[in-house]
């Protein structure tokens, strides 16, 4: 085209980034091997898969397809390396990580070109966003390696970590996974996505360049069905970290259930993008571009649901369409395109299928007038209006450049629509009114909320989901806890196999509480509890001539003592097998009612932390007034000595004080990522937590679980110690007299595992804690996969509830909360 001609038309023209260096790098090395022990090895099955350039549809490289045999080799290498790497001083690890960050920067352009070739995303994004964030992540976590000894006392690395990453941000997701793992002293076996391995392989070369000890990082390319599967099921892997679809996350949750593997899942989303009528609409339009046309919309936290205040909807849609007309799509290596290629033909088909479904269901589709390149996998930016929350495209994650727009009338309705999803990864809130924006942000169920911005990421600020978007956080200090465990736990063994109750659901089943191994108390069976045994339901202690007044606790639901739905009761026995009382036999409907009551009390989280603290002190006060009675009850049920029982009551009172103290002191932090603004990392109440108490320490176990949760604003449904439920049921009156609002604490007695199953399966329970036998833990984890609720289970490990390190503290507070990061850029 002549210059004169261009001078007239003022078109942009092609601006290709040279691919030679990247292609030469590939050509010199392929077929690529597996990276184990810092060397390249051939896959055991001698199979290779092809990596394709999505922008051209042409083959790019051949990479090894690992098998379970290779996974064994890699895990073994990682295990061997862990022996020394796990003990390597933080400063030494920091030096390695600093070197990695520097090498990422040295190879920045090669990495950007490879990523763009392999994934189809634009070179602008890989060059300006992905790769700089990768380097930043390693610098940031090098810092945490340096500080681990001082800042993470009492924590130890988890061990060998299996990491499975997606194709949408191949190297960035690698960095998010590997950096915190290395910082905390873990070793890694990482599986890149099937379609996008190349930057991970370049990263492996960097591991050689910085002379990272062999086996610390191992990278296995191949098919998810082979490598991912084997990694997830490998018995010598201590943790799985996964980013990808909710469906796969769910199957990983099931596969690892009961294995004791730590698990963090970062899954799908259908994130709301909320626009109020006082927002800067032109900036909103650019925000939408960054929300849904960033990386072709193949972003888990893409703002894919545009929620507009009704009075500005038409104007905003007009502006959006005008903007879409001059978006540019094309070869990912063109430096002047906004939208690159969809990662694979399969993904493209799926997007097409969902868009067709949207049209069929009556939504109005709009696409710009220009056409996409005919070669390669391209899909135009697409805007749906006339969408209702009931349509498929408003609910399912499309993972493509497709936006659905809906309107709202009031802030309340905006929040309701925003939260009307099974996901909870991110949200954008646009308003120039600080009062409105900061009112809305905390009310949205999502791990990241961006005010007047979108898709901002930084190593300093945690990222992760609520609900079916997964659990665990990546980034920030909160991300470190995914890669450590309490040092005491490392030493613990599975030494407390509590028999599972045998009389499930049966009324008056004595069998269900037998066989409890209270090893710690075995020697003290005969100690000073004579005369206490039959206090309840037996004879009157002071006037032997009078029968005692029967006192049969019901269930405690919504602040009321309610009869169990089943109409049955179960006996509670002392150590000698004498019946000392009955409790209600709770069932599925009682749990249902309790969960409803717990939800009705959700306002508990919004009240002042000071008030929650006062109520916890008040519980302690009222418990203290009856400490003798509670001690006797413990003795009666458990055969603990009077001294032990008194100690348990005192510890419970102290524990209540601890969480009253924490209630207004566990407050989150302010991150300062590189922008003018701040990120508030707020620990928010998780919601409704189901909890199965340990059988031992009937009072302290109960208080140790309930107190931190309600201190943080959660509401709870508690299954008390099955062997000794009366200490918990005796608390009804304590709770009632301590101003605990109705529904904050709900107690359902009965068969622990039956009731736990109902709670774990319940879609409206946000987290499930279970302190019981290993088999029960497994069932809870399995059942939790339904709504991907968080779980916290004991794996049958003994926990010393009297100990302040094991029995209370920040571990409990972390389990009670989820961190929301609210990004607040500012400046007038």
């Amino acid at each position: 085209m002549s210059i004169l001609n261009i001078f007239d038309t003022m078109e942009y023209g092609p601006a290709p980034e040279a691919a030679n260096a990247g292609l030469a790098w590939i050509a010199e090395r392929q077929p690529f091997g597996l990276f184990i022990n810092n060397t390249w090895v051939k896959p055991a099955g001698k199979q290779y898969i092809e990596s394709v350039n999505p922008a051209t549809g042409k083959p790019l490289a051949r990479v090894a397809a690992a098998t379970s045999e290779d996974v064994d080799r890699a895990v073994k290498a990682a295990r061997t390396a862990f022996e020394s790497w796990g003990k390597t001083p933080g400063h030494v690890r920091a030096r390695y990580m600093y070197a990695i960050a520097r090498h990422i920067q040295k190879h920045a352009r090669l990495l950007a070109v490879l990523e763009s070739l392999d994934n189809g995303k634009t070179i602008r994004e890989t060059r300006d966003i992905d790769i700089p964030l990768v380097a930043r992540h390693f610098y940031y976590y090098a810092g945490w390696a340096q500080l681990m000894e001082q800042e993470m006392p009492g924590f130890a690395p988890v061990g060998v970590v299996g990491q499975i990453i997606p194709w949408n941000f191949p190297l960035l997701m690698l960095a998010w996974k590997i950096a915190p793992a290395l910082a905390m002293g873990n070793t890694v076996v990482l599986k890149p996505a099937r379609y996008t391995s190349l930057t991970a392989l370049k990263f492996a070369e960097i591991m050689q360049e910085v002379r990272l000890p062999p086996g610390v990082i191992n990278i296995l390319t191949g098919e998810a069905s082979q490598v991912g599967e084997a990694l997830v099921r490998h018995p010598d892997v201590n943790k799985i970290a996964f980013t990808g679809s909710t469906d796969v996350g769910r199957s990983i949750r099931r596969a690892t259930a009961g294995s004791g593997k730590k698990l963090s899942l970062e899954l799908g989303g259908k994130s709301p993008f909320i626009v109020f009528d006082d927002a800067d609409l032109d900036s909103v339009v650019e925000g939408v571009v960054d929300a849904i046309w960033f990386n072709q919309g193949q972003v888990c936290c893409a703002g894919s649901r545009l929620l507009m205040q009704e009075n500005i909807a038409n104007r905003l849609i007009a502006k959006l369409r005008a903007r879409m007309e001059h978006l540019r799509i094309g070869d990912s290596l063109d430096k002047a395109v906004d939208i690159g290629a969809i990662v694979s033909p399969g993904q493209l088909k799926e997007i097409q299928r969902l868009v067709e479904a949207g049209v069929e269901e009556g939504a109005e589709m709009w696409q710009p007038s220009w056409t996409c390149p005919t070669e390669g996998n391209f899909f135009p930016p697409t805007l749906f209006t006339n969408v209702s929350p009931a349509t498929t495209i408003a609910q399912v994650e499309i993972f493509g450049p497709v936006l659905v727009a809906m309107t709202f009338r009031t802030p309340e309705e905006a929040v309701a629509l925003a939260n009307n999803t099974r996901y909870g990864l991110a949200a954008s809130v646009w308003s120039d009114n600080i009062n409105l924006a900061l009112d809305i942000a905390p009310r949205i169920k999502a791990g990241s909320v961006w005010i007047n911005s979108t898709n901002l990421f930084d190593a300093s600020s945690g990222f992760g989901g609520y609900r079916e978007s997964g659990f665990g956080r990546e980034g920030g200090k909160e991300g470190l806890y995914e890669y450590v465990r309490p040092a005491w736990e490392v030493k613990a063994t599975v030494d407390l196999h509590i028999a599972v109750g045998s009389g499930k659901g049966a009324a008056s089943s004595n069998g269900s509480i037998k066989g409890v191994n209270m090893a710690a108390h075995d020697e003290e069976v005969e100690d000073g509890h004579e005369g206490d045994k039959r206090e309840n339901g037996g004879m009157n202690a002071y006037h032997p001539a009078l029968p005692g007044i029967d006192r049969t606790p019901k269930l405690f639901i919504g602040g009321k003592q309610a009869r169990s739905d089943s109409g049955y009761s179960r006996d509670v026995l002392d150590r000698q097998g004498h019946v000392i009382g009955q409790v209600g036999e709770g069932n599925r409907k009682d749990i249902r009612n309790a969960v409803e009551a717990a939800h009705a009390a959700s306002g508990w989280a919004n009240g002042a932390a000071h008030t929650r603290a006062q109520i916890l002190y008040y519980i302690a006060e009222n418990l203290s007034a009856r400490e003798d009675e509670f001690a006797r009850r413990i003795v009666q049920q458990t055969s603990a000595s009077r001294a032990d029982a008194a100690n348990e009551v005192q510890t419970a009172i102290s524990r209540l004080f601890s969480y009253a103290a924490w209630a207004d002191k566990y407050e989150g932090v302010v991150h300062r990522p590189p922008m003018r603004g701040a990120v508030l990392a707020l620990p928010e109440a998780t919601g409704v937590i189901g909890m199965a108490c340990p059988d031992e320490y009937p009072l302290l176990g109960f208080i140790s679980l309930v107190a931190p949760a309600i201190a943080m604003g959660d509401t709870v449904v508690v299954i008390p110690s099955m062997q000794a439920p009366l200490s918990a049921t005796d608390c009804y009156q304590v709770l009632e007299t301590s101003d605990v609002p109705s529904g904050v604490v709900n107690i359902v007695t009965g068969d622990r595992d039956t009731l736990s199953q109902v709670l774990a399966e319940h879609d409206d329970v946000d987290s499930m804690w279970y302190f019981g036998p290993l088999e029960g833990c497994q069932r809870v984890e399995l059942a939790s996969a339904g709504n991907m609720k968080r779980t916290w289970v004991s794996y049958g490990h003994r926990r010393d509830w009297l100990d302040t390190i094991q029995g209370e503290g920040q571990e409990f507070l972390r389990e009670s909360t989820q961190v929301k990061n609210i990004w607040i850029p500012y400046g007038e």
Binding site: I6, M10, A15, A279, S283, G287, D290, A318, G827
Partner: protein, 342 residues
């Protein structure tokens, strides 16, 4: 920038096309001051800065496209000298460069010289009032207009009557364009009607001469003020809105450009009149001139990519553009002394 004036959806964005052939446009007649509109201007600074930062990274032009765009940038240049030591001598030199901004051999090599090529010249020459006659004489027959800075440039702290007289004198001296400065105090004190009246009076004084309204954005303190002042000046009849005098500590920046071009778009969408944009000050490199062209194309479209609606106030940038064109033609970088100085 955006405004959210309350109105019914029926009157949404219905441009009234006033485009005349060959880039000539109907002058913006102005309109009554509409404070509802002005007050509802919204500018979110952080978001605007993010957008501005991505303008040079989302788009680029290479090779022939870059050469053509640089030639286009030259045609949009207001070649400027505004110094205390300006004399007829250096103004004459500037005018000579304005007629022949690029070496003929480079134009020939690019196929744009000679017959059927373009008559490459800058958009205007911009000087102080005293030098207007010199420039007018030097540019006679070239078709290049002379612009005079006026109204107490750069600070605008002269008596109002004097300002009108100054405009009048420059127009009489042959200035076809007048770059006026607004009273920043009106913006900072929120006295929008005073600003409107002032600019309206300037426009009347300009008569047929085109009026470029300099906001001196750095002294307006906030981007929201920039957005509001842009609207008021357009309502008062500005033909162009211009960022800076070149004398403020910070002059043309892309965030300011984003706000002002969005205001221009909004004004066009509501009134159907196209107002021009002129960034000035601090634009020294060829790359910067391309960034500003990209901003215009992205925010306003191709209609704003010619000198009837876009000017760049600068002088040294021309040297760098010529150097880049020389590189494009020869494949190596020229020393400054190979290109005739500005």
């Amino acid at each position: 920038m955006t405004t959210t004036r309350k109105r019914t959806e029926a009157e949404e964005i219905t441009p009234h096309p006033t485009i005349e052939p060959q880039g000539r446009i109907t002058r913006n007649p102005g309109m009554p001051l509409d404070m509802d509109w002005v007050r509802q201007a919204r500018v979110n600074r952080s978001a605007v800065e993010r957008r501005a930062a991505s303008i040079p990274t989302r788009r680029t032009v290479k090779k022939e496209w870059q050469a053509a765009w640089l030639l286009r940038a030259i045609t949009c240049l207001d070649l400027t000298t505004l110094m205390g030591d300006d004399t007829p001598g250096n103004v004459l030199r500037l005018c000579a460069k304005a007629r022949r901004p690029v070496r003929q051999e480079l134009l020939d090599a690019m196929g744009v010289g000679g017959k059927g090529g373009m008559n490459l010249r800058v958009g205007a020459v911009c000087v102080y009032h005293n030098l207007v006659p010199v420039a007018v004489e030097a540019l006679r027959g070239s078709g290049i207009p002379v612009a005079a800075v006026s109204t107490g440039f750069p600070a605008g702290q002269n008596p109002f009557e004097q300002k009108l007289q100054e405009i009048d004198a420059s127009v009489k001296a042959g200035a076809a364009e007048v770059d006026i400065v607004i009273s920043r105090a009106h913006v900072l004190t929120g006295n929008w009607s005073a600003l409107y009246d002032e600019v309206r009076a300037f426009r009347a004084a300009c008569g047929d001469a085109h009026m470029k309204t300099i906001l001196a954005t750095h002294e307006l303190a906030t981007l929201r003020n920039v957005g509001m002042a842009s609207l008021v000046c357009m309502m008062a009849g500005a033909d162009f809105i211009k960022t800076s005098t070149g004398k403020e500590p910070v002059n043309a920046t892309l965030p300011v450009g984003v706000v002002m071009t969005r205001a221009i778009r909004e004004y066009f969408e509501r009134t159907g009149y196209k107002v021009g944009f002129k960034p000035a000050g601090g634009i020294r490199t060829a790359k910067q001139s391309l960034d500003w062209l990209i901003l215009m194309k992205e925010e306003l479209g191709n209609d704003w990519l010619n000198n009837s609606l876009f000017r760049i106030g600068a002088s040294s940038v021309l040297s760098d553009i010529e150097r880049q064109l020389s590189y494009f033609v020869t494949g190596h970088y020229a020393a400054a002394h190979y290109n005739p100085m500005v």
